[in-house]
């Protein structure tokens, strides 16, 4: 079963303001796709479309075998919670502490307000040097730490698809290299990744195929 299947799909280009030529795209479990583009904005819009944050102009979007209905945002929540979204568009909830941000999804779905982090989250917080910043509000974090918290939050979601925009700039090459093993394991566990990057080592290590977004077209 494919995880994502876009058919006769089109979205609006940020660069030209026109619709993309209709395209088909699919992502299988464990598939890792790198994006090459002449417009980072179009690539981000494509990632946002995959994250179901931007509605398509036309075409259908099947997620884990289900057709998505973009006319009702609440119907998209079930798909969204399985998508890791590590891009410049991702944000933390500003009136909650870092700890509460990390625990928000668990608190929501388990009806538990426990402030205790699970071992996996603790391990990732240690890796990203966030242990002493858990009780700060996002506004008190540096931009780098803010992005690290977003990355940790998206990784602990146990997503089935991870979307990343320039991870080497987003969390820095050192931190990116530090989570390579984690990403390898997740890909081994059938995580699909679509990413936009200029970091050759990362592309060569992970990418299984290339996707070109250029001038209003998308070619697999």
């Amino acid at each position: 079963m494919t995880m994502i299947e876009l058919s006769n799909f089109s979205f609006e280009s940020k660069k030209t303001g026109r619709a993309f030529q209709p395209f088909d795209f699919s992502l299988a479990p464990g598939d890792v796709v790198s994006i090459s583009t002449d417009s980072a904005e179009d690539a981000l819009t494509f990632l946002k479309t995959l994250a179901t944050l931007v509605p398509p102009i036309h075409g259908s979007y099947r997620f884990l075998g289900n057709n998505l209905n973009f006319s009702n945002r609440q119907d998209l929540l079930e798909a969204k919670k399985h998508i890791g979204f590590v891009t410049s568009h991702a944000a933390l909830i500003s009136n909650r502490s870092v700890r509460e941000n990390l625990l928000l999804q668990r608190a929501y779905f388990t009806n538990s307000l426990s402030a205790k982090l699970d071992p996996n989250t603790r391990r990732l917080c240690k890796l990203f040097a966030l242990e002493n910043k858990l009780d700060l509000r996002p506004a008190a974090l540096t931009e780098h730490d803010y992005r690290c918290v977003v990355t940790v939050r998206e990784l602990i979601k146990r997503p089935v698809i991870l979307l990343m925009e320039y991870p080497e700039k987003y969390i820095g090459i050192t931190k990116l290299n530090a989570i390579n093993d984690i990403l390898f394991n997740l890909v081994g566990d059938e995580l699909g990744i679509v990413f936009l990057s200029e970091y050759k080592y990362f592309i060569e290590t992970f990418s299984k195929r290339d996707l070109v977004i250029s001038n209003g077209t998308l070619q697999a």
Binding site: L53, L76, E78, Q105, Y108, F109
Partner: protein, 258 residues
Amino acid sequence: MQRVIGSVGRQALASLNQIATQLTFAYKILRLLTFPSKPGRALVRRITMEQVYFTAVQALPIIIPIAILIGGMIIIQFSRFSGQYDLGKITVLIIVRELGPILTAFLIILRSATAVTIEVGYMNVLHEVDALEMSGIDPLWIVCVPRLVGITSAIVCLFIVFDLVAIVGGYALVWIITYIHMSEFLLQIANAISVADITVGLIKAVLFGITITVTCLYHGFKTQRHITQIPVAASRASVQCFIYCLSISAAISVLFYL
């Protein structure tokens, strides 16, 4: 002439469209209250408690002196006007029926409603609403429902506090210049007040709570792109809340007392 009529017509249609959208939005939020098995109940409860704390508890040091001053002013004026004969009746008429609910609503609009518009506006502009959705969390359930329940219950509680403080505190403030005793004054109020007065006050408070919250959330969520839209949205929301509350208050008074 045609242009003027056209312009008026377009504005009327736009206003009707906005009211219809707000009513739909209110229906969507209120409908969520009928799904008790939805996930996130613990979180919703906590955010509701926080909202009640911000809107009701933190407003007490402001509303109590205002209620005493307004109660005092009314009692001073009417004690001279009516020779204190109908003081209890007039106090019920003015404070419990009209001023209590509306002044409480105005205070909430000034203190909390604008804050809600700004908070939700920021959440929208800074993609925090998208962040909630990306976690599978329904923003209507986690952002709107706690604010609706919290602000509405806060207005109901503050309305009761306002009435009690305005009557008792107001009398205490002016007891020197009045001839009637406290017990006599309270007896006059007890004779003058009816169940309908309290019910109408509570109905007004609940409707004000729903109207204020929905209007503020609507304007907050409408702010999509730029931070500069947020103050405009806050200003529009507070003016609309003001007009809606006055209209509701007048309509209910006409409906029950005319």
